[in-house]
């Protein structure tokens, strides 16, 4: 099982505890998490299922390449981290 962790910035809006997920790709792993936490999906993905412009996803400390279809591979012991790209003011 891969581990999916979410930035604490999300906790202001809704619960987003770490989760375990099967899935050969980033998209499949996230979908598995969203299946049990549907409200979380719209915070991470846009209407077309792509990563939101100011959301970043890293696998084992490296940014994913495919932000549109989320096809980056995810292994059994990988760690996925979802956080906000820095911006503000």
């Amino acid at each position: 099982m891969a581990t999916v962790s979410f930035t604490s910035a999300l906790q202001r809006f809704l619960p987003a505890p770490p989760a375990e997920a099967e899935g050969g790709t980033v998209g499949a792993a996230l979908a598995a998490v969203f299946a049990s936490r549907p409200a979380l999906r719209g915070y991470v993905l846009d209407d077309q299922g792509a990563l939101r412009r100011h959301v970043a996803v890293y696998v084992n400390g490296q940014p994913v390449h495919d932000r549109i279809r989320l096809t980056d591979p995810v292994g059994t012991h990988d760690e996925i981290y979802v956080f906000q790209a820095l911006s503000g003011g």
Binding site: G42, Y43, D46, D47, Q48, A50, V55
Partner: protein
């Protein structure tokens, strides 16, 4: 008269209440989060749309029990492969305006990138108005603010007939439906966009409608603050004539229409778009009481010395009496009038930039 005012800002939603003639903040929600639209219902319900920089558009409702709950947001359908030509995203940018639909539970949401959504369950679920979205002409809708997405900033429902709808679009003119959104047509004749090439100047679809406001008691009377002037329609938006008497300038974003007197409307003029600050550093409200033939420039209680407050499209509101008005600025100024605009007071607050004010 309304004794509550909801102010949506760049960093939160503030509720003011009038107590012994003094307006004070009585509640703060979503502190730190941008609020893009607010709707308050007579039963005490409030809807607040958030425009979170990282996590997208969100919608919350405060119910009669006082608890805030997150609702579903409008969602665009999957973008088909043959829509590659569509220059606009099929993804909710932000909810720009929320309006009651004139029927139980019905709400309308105008959004960027230009989708109109309807809810029949108080905002719990939303459906895209597919007819409008799939019109080939929508691909001609232009973005606002320097090439961003188009946006529906005004939704007018005829109080006598909830199926009769007008929407104002930046930048695509005024559109009408008389069958509750089943069909749409571009209706605005008589507006002109002086900044466009000559052959496009009078084209209805290029008109940058900043904001529409209609007289509730006489819904055929509609006012428009347009990118390069003020216009008035006496046939529910079909034809327009320019209101050239507006002072001190014709540029601005906001307009409010008197609820019962169709001759009265308020505007907050500014230097046109190269600068977008008040004329001569004086914050004023322009009011007509004769259908636009003449204007009074109201300034009592407003800052008249090095004041650079700009008021956005939804930053001006009038209550159902026509006597109480409020407006908020991008500098965080907030002013309230209880005499139709003759005089103004500023509550003892220093707010974040104001996007929207609404009485309840």
């Amino acid at each position: 008269m309304a004794n509550r005012l909801h102010v949506g800002t760049r960093k939160g939603l503030f509720e003011l209440a009038r107590d012994n003639g003094v307006w004070e903040i009585v509640d703060t929600q979503f502190l730190g989060d941008p609020v893009s639209a607010v709707l308050a219902d007579a039963d005490g319900s409030i809807w607040a749309a958030l425009d979170l920089g990282h996590f997208g558009a969100k919608l919350w409702r405060r119910d009669c029990d006082g608890a805030w709950r997150e609702l579903a947001v409008p969602v665009f359908p999957p973008k088909p492969d043959d829509a590659e030509e569509d220059p606009h995203p099929w993804s909710l940018g932000k909810i720009w305006v929320l309006e009651p639909g004139g029927a139980a539970g019905r709400l309308w949401a105008g959004t960027m990138p230009g989708g109109l959504f309807r809810s029949d369950d108080g905002g719990a679920s939303w459906s895209l108005n597919e007819t409008l979205w799939h019109m080939p002409e929508r691909r001609q809708w232009a973005g606002v603010a320097g090439g961003e997405q188009p946006g529906i900033n005004s939704v007018l429902i005829d109080p006598r007939n909830p199926s009769d709808i007008r929407i104002g679009v930046s930048t695509a003119g005024v559109w009408a439906s008389t069958d509750a959104g089943g069909s749409w047509r571009l209706i605005n004749r008589g507006m002109h966009a002086e900044y466009m090439p000559p052959e496009q100047r009078d084209n209805p679809i290029v008109q940058d409608v900043h904001r529409l406001a209609r007289c509730a008691a006489h819904p055929e009377i509609v006012w428009c603050q347009h990118h390069n002037g003020v216009f008035r329609s006496e046939d529910a938006g079909a034809t327009w004539r320019e209101v050239t008497a507006i002072r001190p300038s014709k540029f601005g974003f906001a307009v409010a229409a008197h609820p019962t007197d169709s001759d009265i409307a308020w505007f907050i003029p500014a230097i046109k778009d190269e600068r977008r600050v008040p004329v001569d550093g004086k914050v004023v409200v322009a009011r007509t009481r004769d259908g636009g033939r003449s204007f009074e420039v109201l300034q009592q209680g407003l800052p008249q010395h090095h004041a650079y407050d700009l008021v956005w499209r939804h930053g001006l509101a009038v209550d159902e009496s026509g006597e109480r008005l409020a407006f908020g600025s991008t500098s965080g100024g907030l002013w309230i009038s209880e005499d139709g605009g003759d005089s103004w007071t500023m509550p003892q607050v220093r707010l974040p930039p104001v996007a929207v004010v609404r009485f309840a």
